[in-house]
Symmetry: C3
Subunit: 247 residues, 3 copies
């Protein structure tokens, strides 16, 4: 059994965070809130989201696991007005989630969680370098890099204590250097890793609204993005595997 | 001979109402105003429009019938500014309509009315159930239903005196229930008919701007939508054939 | 060596003027400013632009000629905010232009000017007729004509001292007549030439923002459009060959 009430806005944000990477996911529900962790089809990126019960206007749940068609929920979220209050109801042992808002009632058949790939184990990673920057600064750097290349490098230069995003095209080059004063915070450990812009564009769009994104990096290692949403009651994480730099 | 002056806004509204269903039509002109009635190519839906001479800033006409290329007039309407005054002139026995507005003068060759299918006879229908709702409530229900299905049922439940629009997809279901308080008016006769969302999307867009739409229904019968436009000087009607519900 | 500082807005305007016709061009730089002249691939239209050093916030240059990939610079301009200050640096004998703005630094490989077609010689033309009109009046006439045809005639009627733009479709006709009071200025010499709307649409969009466009015309002769941009510190000219009117 799961019964909750949530703002349309928060509902939409959760769905957007997840749908940047996957079309379906397992949602874990218990009395403390809901959470999910999923990897994309190509095993390149992982998303983790948790939303505490405090993010809901009302919340009562028994521990369970359900399969969500994220794309379909995104279409439904698109029908909501921001001010709508969304009621969610999953009756005991039912396979249909009932969503109601305004004068609408949707009944959505859930996916069998057994048909969705198992929850990935979060890898143990040693990512000693760290910066915190506004989400829109990250997003605009990704868009700028896309003009010249399909890859972007995330670099920390410990000497100048600056965070550098750079992309190298066949003939052109672009650098965005954020110095200490431009950063919310930095742990200036030397690092450099290269990432696919395709993935970053999707998740960058989601993170562009976050006032701060915490980025953990290493050298030729994955990057981890942490950010909050829904007035900091929702926590999200993206993990993205590196591309190997050719010489 | 036909000579008239009309607001660009009203001109655009008439064209929009017609172009939701057909690309060409016969316009009947007489000293009381203009009107048309046309069915779509698949014979599924009919549109009727009349615009009294009071909707014009100036109007003088002899009885005649002309063929309009609705698509072309829509393109021309798209060039007008809302505040423009549009002058229409069809000289005696001419086949060219002259439209002028701002510094523009268009001369548009009319279609031969004999090449356009005859005016349909409005069918005699017994549609005892009736609701009146705001146009945007109708339009948003149609868009919501489109998320799960390509058909929507219009239902009146006489016991609860409510108007229900519902759509059934392969796995999902959506209901919009408007109770008595949400409706402008209701004649609560039991009814249920199913309609194609494709048609409703087009005509729903046009009706979304109407403050009220009067809907007449039966069971497995067509639906009739009546609404006004151009400050109630224009009257429009859509009639849409039902789809038969498979068991 | 070339080193300059310019508003992002002005930078974008120069690029837009050029990119309406060509994808690459030779830029001539000297201590008075920059300029270019280029013809489109089909030899139908020519663009000339000059931007005096006063349009720059800082400017120092030795005489040189560089090849620009206009499309690429347009993408980069798209990343700028209007309020950005753009720094341009072309080191002595370098083939890479460095653009920096906000926290970004782009390094763009220039094209070899020898691979770009030679500067066209501006043809000697006798175009005795002349009108000056607002850029948006010109642009909207072009869009209106596109509804009925792919060609537009520019006509001056010396008797009524009016400037007429007209298009003739297979069945329809459109005229925009601007009388003396609608024009900023007119030299009422009889003329009539026909032009391709495809070209005019592109350059009309650029000119739509100009408060005035000076148009020189003849009969079955090219048309010349002159206008300023960047607070009148930039001067631009388009020259467009006529289409020959079939009888």
């Amino acid at each position: 059994m799961f019964k909750a009430e949530i703002d349309a806005n928060t509902f939409g944000e959760v769905i957007d965070v997840i749908s940047a990477l996957v079309n379906e996911c397992r949602i874990h529900i218990n009395d403390e809130g809901i959470s999910t962790r999923a990897v994309d089809a190509a095993n390149v990126a992982m998303v983790s989201v948790s939303l505490g019960n405090g993010a809901f206007n009302a919340f009562s749940a028994e521990t369970c696991e359900v399969g969500f068609d994220v794309k379909k929920l995104r279409n439904i979220a698109g029908m909501m007005n921001k001010a709508d209050n969304v009621n969610l109801l999953l009756p005991e042992s039912s396979q249909k989630l009932e969503l109601s808002f305004a004068e609408y009632k949707y009944s959505v058949t859930l996916l069998d969680p057994n048909t969705i790939r198992k929850d990935p184990n979060p890898p143990q990673l040693d990512l000693p370098a760290r910066v915190v920057i506004p989400g829109d600064a990250l997003h605009s750097a990704i868009k700028a890099a896309a003009v010249v290349s399909d890859k972007i490098a995330f670099v920390i230069d410990p000497d100048s204590e600056s965070f550098i995003m750079e992309a190298e095209g066949d003939t052109d080059h672009i650098t965005k250097e954020m110095k200490k004063g431009d950063l919310i915070s930095i742990t200036p450990v030397k690092c450099r890793s290269l990432f696919s812009i395709d993935y970053l564009k999707e998740i960058g769009k989601v993170m562009s609204g976050a006032s701060s994104v915490e980025i953990f990096m290493g050298t030729d290692h994955p990057v981890r993005f942490l950010f909050n949403f829904a007035d900091s009651k929702g926590h999200a994480e993206y993990l993205l595997a590196p591309r190997i730099e050719a010489d």
